[in-house]
Symmetry: none
DNA sequence: GATGAATGAGGATTCATTCAT
DNA sequence: AATGAATGAATCCTCATTCAT
């Protein structure tokens, strides 16, 4: 078993979820190598061995955590369901809103995904899911540029700038350098829109 | 000895530098917890024990690496030496130029500083130096806003957005999603300027 | 329950047999400590817990396997039923024939019994059954010596030599150093007879 | 380092020897899988980690133990240095004598080599050294058969019978079924000679 | 009765740190 | 001052055994 089985009896599903949640919490706080498997077990309130019934190894566990978080991000953004006939500014607002929603609703997932370098241990499936998140956003930027809405630059770069700006904002908040109230978030959206549009 | 001695005979200075360079390399590649001290010693071509003559512990070592990189960043940016009488766009260009210069000249330092979450093991001195880098930039943003040049938002937030955008750009390049040629960098600067100015 | 119940309903008997067979197979291949109980269960196509309904522990299981194999050996040799009035050479041939028959018909049992050192975990019953196999052979050797047929040496030593020679032959075959065709086996019997007789 | 380095400073040589000796003792008593590495360390009076400075893994350790024992056996037998012009019976006596000498002088090595099935974890070097022991003996049997001294059967089979007989004798003694005094050993030699010669 | 999920003690192995040389 | 061999606590992982279903 490399990734967790998709369908399990309710009780086991709960246990698997508890493990994934505990792992997410600790990996986010201390990083992958800084987290001991027994600590995950303790936080999940299961035996150490139980973790190895659900995941082949610590690496398989972190990949599952990663995949779950990325999938959640993808399903929160739902960029591919955007109604492209809407005004560009509205579309951008929708995108920004959902990004905020994700970071607010799933702060652990957001920090885990964006504040750490997972490259060294990601497996093929994880990398694939990462692309599933990026591609629709890339497409969105490309479309906007074709319509003359977006700044005339490579869509990937534009995407990286805006995503990075958003991450930078949250990172500063986590570190305690900043408080993100409604006003700041609105101004930030405007600033990013300014970056996005020509 | 908590931090490395500031003045050492030339020979020892070389050894300390070799250790710090090796540590930077490995910490950047594998993270703090993913790096073994003997591996640092091997790469630095010194005995394992030697590392403990220069640094109290692995944590002290990573803090030294952090402090050196941050200091280098501060000294490359030299924001506090900005001639505030220059036109705002020129000042921004200078800032951007130096940021690019740092990321280009010291890619390991940049990746180490920006792509990992060091919070769990940073000591007081490291946190202080971090502020030494941020404060002038913050001041720069504040001044610009007072003069009506910068977007009317909290300077810290503006700073976080621009810094984050820049980091996002480099991160995408490291991951292989992007190639940063001169044109892309120019467009990116314009985009960030658009974010910065009202 | 220390040893497996002697009389069981047919269905349970089948299950117990399957477990003992699987255990014999894996213990022979990987040794006692090298074999995991869940692996035995998988091979026997029963639940892990089921093994513990039939056997108190892994040690109890290996003792049951041992006892079954030794009993089978005893019942195949049936040395105590030898007609001592027959010519000594014929008796030896009978003995040899049955030994060959056992090793051919029950290769797993033979390898399990002869190629591993079980001493560390054998219980009293197992040691007792081991004696039940040895004693008649010892008696046979003793009788032969009394009649002047066997070499004039301690019966136990003679027995050990012949048994060891036979085991050595099979071991060489298992390792792949040798092929045991009819001719080799006949020559081997003659050689052992030469050792046995004066 | 797969096998232990051949030349080490005296102090380290002692440590390596202590580890190999302790490993030999415990592997012989409890088998490979039945022996815990920390137990070997305790018996060798070194730290657990020290074992891993000298041997890559537990498997590498058992292979080193095996190779040392086999080499010792080879060097004790020295069959390839036999003066083939001597009378066959004298040659056989020499062979027997040296076999006895090995089993007497190195009882742990003998038991380790002959009473356990090492096949599952032997590496290429180990298998090669095993052949280095067997080949000269096989040659010796072949020569004797050519000269009409040895029984007319495959040399490998003859070798297996005699070697097996000897092992059987010692095994019986270890188990406590037998005491091997000078007389028994002389008779045993005669019996094996009878097996060897036509 | 049968199961197999759950457990945690115990196993192999690593690594931060020490210290004799 | 510099070394790297030595250490054992801590790591990842396994597996004999239990017990709720």
């Amino acid at each position: 078993m490399t990734s967790p089985a998709t369908h399990l009896p309710a009780k086991q599903q709960l246990k698997q979820d508890a493990i994934l949640k505990a792992a997410l919490t600790l990996f986010t706080q201390r990083g992958f190598h800084g987290t001991a498997v027994p600590d995950v077990a303790k936080l999940a309130d299961v035996g150490t061995g139980t973790i190895y019934r659900y995941f082949d190894s610590k690496e398989a566990l972190v990949n599952s955590v990663f995949q779950r978080a990325k999938t959640l991000l993808r399903d929160t953004l739902r960029v591919d369901s955007f109604d492209v006939s809407l005004p560009p500014r509205d579309l951008f607002h929708l995108f920004w809103q959902r990004l905020v929603q994700f970071a607010d609703s799933y702060p652990l997932e957001f920090r885990f995904l964006e504040l750490q370098d997972h490259a060294p241990y990601l497996d093929d499936i994880s990398r694939q899911i990462e692309l599933q998140v990026l591609l629709p956003v890339w497409q969105f930027c490309l479309d906007a540029r074709k319509k003359g809405t977006a700044r005339h630059m490579e869509p990937g770069a534009l995407m990286a700038l805006i995503w990075g700006a958003f991450v930078g904002l949250r990172k500063a908040a986590y570190t305690g350098y900043l408080t993100l109230d409604v006003e700041v978030m609105e101004k930030a959206e405007e600033a990013c829109w300014a970056m996005f549009t020509g």
